[in-house]
């Protein structure tokens, strides 16, 4: 069954060029204003976001009719929606979906809690039509070449499925996923983040397509686009991000006139590409547990469509299940591994002629610096410190995951502790900042420390 909204391109609903809404009060006094976003619920209903109680809302409560003009951002062609206000929702799936988008922008523009959704106002679409005469069709637009998908859709799903199920370890899995997203769909800029043991932060464990790898970069849950996805366990797809931020900044400027600046936080820079115009982020969820977030971005304003969203959701679900199984399997296998003795022969000894690497552990900040450069913090920092100290004191080179899990100083939770992802992060940070020190997997649940340079350890209370 088709409804009046069939045939209107979905990009018209992405809020790039603001839509207008005309209403009237009971005396016949019209009101017209701009809307940030028209949310398409189904082919007969739309929802408009109400962030501030305004004249539009007052009018439709008294006289339910409204007229909205939607503009196609690619062509500026216009569609007319004749609406009748139906009801407002202040909770539930629709409200949560609309709220998440607004919260993400509020967070990025430093206005969490100030700029928020009051209600999702649901309207019935009485009629929808193309508006003739808006565009001069004698002026023809140059055609934008559409890049074909590089491989067929089913083949892409097959590739992802095959590579994730055959991944030998966490690092292998992450690299396979990001590489396949690029290969199959041209998602050139992607990252994977994992939730830490405090459940309050996400840390970056794998990236693809960035000048700087950004491994170890952290995002608070609920903050920005990626943090919102982890908190709400929902997909977030945003196009024309700059337009969304501009809208947020307009409100910020208006708020500054009426409230103390202290109510507002500084703007948070977007992670990843400085000039990204499209973002899409998926939570990696198993049951009701969030494991992490898979995020892609692009400089193209309309890079991701509904199809990409659906596809990435399939990928994210598959990755989440594989990841969870991998972490659980690895944890169980650990307890079958006997404690390795200290007698292991060093795989590689330190070459005394190389300059001494100076590692400093700052207890209060729970972080390690190497030669005055920040290396890593929290759990992976404690792992490294434990391993280096053991090596320095006893000459040990062989370690097991099990002993790390049993060490209360490391503070790993009893189950699903993300140890493997912490080791991946630690390995990548070492490779980037101190390639002379390596942690190499030797077998399931075991790893060796390889040290090519002499090192010194120093513990301090604070920097």
């Amino acid at each position: 069954m088709s409804g009046p909204l069939d045939g209107i391109p979905m990009r018209c609903f992405q809020g790039v060029v603001p839509s207008t809404i005309a209403t009237a009060d009971c005396k016949g006094i019209p009101n017209i204003t701009y809307l940030s976003h028209v949310f398409r619920i189904d082919d007969r209903h739309v929802a408009l976001s109400c962030q501030f109680f305004n004249k539009t809302k007052a009018n439709v409560l008294a006289n339910p009719y409204a007229s909205v003009d939607l503009m196609d951002p690619a062509t500026l062609e216009m569609y007319r929606l004749e609406l009748r206000f139906d009801h407002s929702e202040t909770s539930g799936p629709l409200f949560d979906t609309m709220s998440m988008r607004i919260d993400a922008i509020a967070s990025l523009t430093g206005m969490s809690g100030i700029f928020r959704l009051i209600s999702s106002d649901v309207y019935e679409v009485i009629a929808a039509s193309y508006r003739n005469g808006v565009i001069d069709h004698t002026l023809v637009l140059p055609e934008t070449p559409v890049e074909p998908r590089s491989i067929s859709e089913i083949r892409a799903v097959q590739l992802i499925s095959q590579r994730t199920s055959r991944a030998k370890g966490l690092e292998d899995l992450m690299n396979a996923v990001l590489a396949t997203l690029q290969e199959a769909f041209g998602f050139e800029h992607s990252m994977m983040l994992m939730l830490d043991e405090t459940q309050t932060k996400l840390y970056t464990v794998a990236t693809r397509g960035y000048d700087s790898e950004g491994i170890g970069a952290e995002v608070a849950v609920g903050e920005g686009l990626v943090g919102s996805v982890a908190r709400d366990k929902r997909v977030l797809r945003m196009s024309y991000v700059e337009a969304e931020l501009r809208y947020g900044r307009a409100i910020r400027a208006a708020v500054q006139k009426t409230r103390s600046r202290r109510d507002m936080l500084p703007e948070i820079p977007l992670s990843g590409l400085a000039d990204a115009q499209s973002h899409m982020a998926m939570p990696l969820v198993v049951g009701d547990r969030v494991l992490g977030v898979l995020a892609v971005e692009s400089r193209s304003p309309l890079a991701f469509d509904e199809w990409d969203e659906a596809f990435l959701e399939i990928v994210a679900n598959q990755v989440a299940v594989t990841l969870d199984n991998m972490l659980l399997r690895e944890h169980e296998a650990d307890f079958e591994v006997a404690q390795t003795s200290n007698a292991g022969t060093p795989a590689k000894g330190a070459a005394p002629s190389l300059p001494v690497k100076r590692f400093r552990f700052f207890k209060n900040d729970d972080c390690i610096f190497v030669d005055d450069e920040y290396l890593i913090r929290n759990v992976p920092a404690r792992i490294l410190w434990r391993v280096l100290r053991e090596h320095q004191q006893n000459g040990r080179t062989a370690f097991t995951n099990r002993e790390l899990r049993l060490d209360p100083w490391l503070g790993l939770p009893p189950l699903r502790d993300n140890l493997e992802s912490r080791l991946v992060l630690l390995r990548k940070r070492l490779a980037d900042k101190c390639p002379g020190v390596r942690l190499l997997s030797t077998d399931r649940g075991r790893f060796n420390l390889e040290v090519e340079c002499p090192f010194a350890l120093e513990e301090r209370e604070s920097a």
Partner: protein
């Protein structure tokens, strides 16, 4: 420009230009004739109009409310003014990511000129102050 018919059904149409009269109490709003039929029909039965002006780059927005004084065909001699208005608008859209080729397709001629006497001015920039009267 927002208008409303005798049954209180509202309607909006995109204006393609505006000129403030020297007395600053009247505004002439230009509408593209090809898509302003309903607006003009509404104004014939209900002279009240709302006009929203926005600057795309920062969403600075004001709303003008008033009553229609006259409706007429835009004169050929006024076209250069509309050309300039639209050129400036295309540049404003370009700043927010709409290509000039796309912006340049906005149809605006032939046009109708709607003269309005200004009765009220409101802040309409998104935010908590939207809807407040401009002093």
């Amino acid at each position: 420009m927002g208008t409303c018919d005798a049954n209180l059904k509202p309607e909006g149409t995109r204006a393609v230009g505006a000129v403030v009269a020297p007395d600053r109490a009247r505004i002439t709003v230009f509408l593209n004739e090809a898509n302003s039929e309903r607006t003009l029909a509404n104004l014939a039965v209900n002279p009240r109009a709302a006009i929203c002006f926005t600057r795309p780059i920062d969403h600075r927005t004001v709303q003008v409310k008033g009553r229609v004084l006259t409706v007429r065909r835009t004169l050929d001699s006024e076209k250069p003014r509309l050309d300039r208005y639209l050129s400036a608008f295309v540049e404003a859209l370009y700043l927010v990511g709409v290509t000039r080729a796309t912006g340049g397709r906005i149809a605006y001629w032939p046009s109708m000129a709607v003269e309005i006497t200004v009765e009220d001015l409101f802040h309409a920039t998104p935010g908590p102050g939207a809807g407040g009267r401009l002093s």
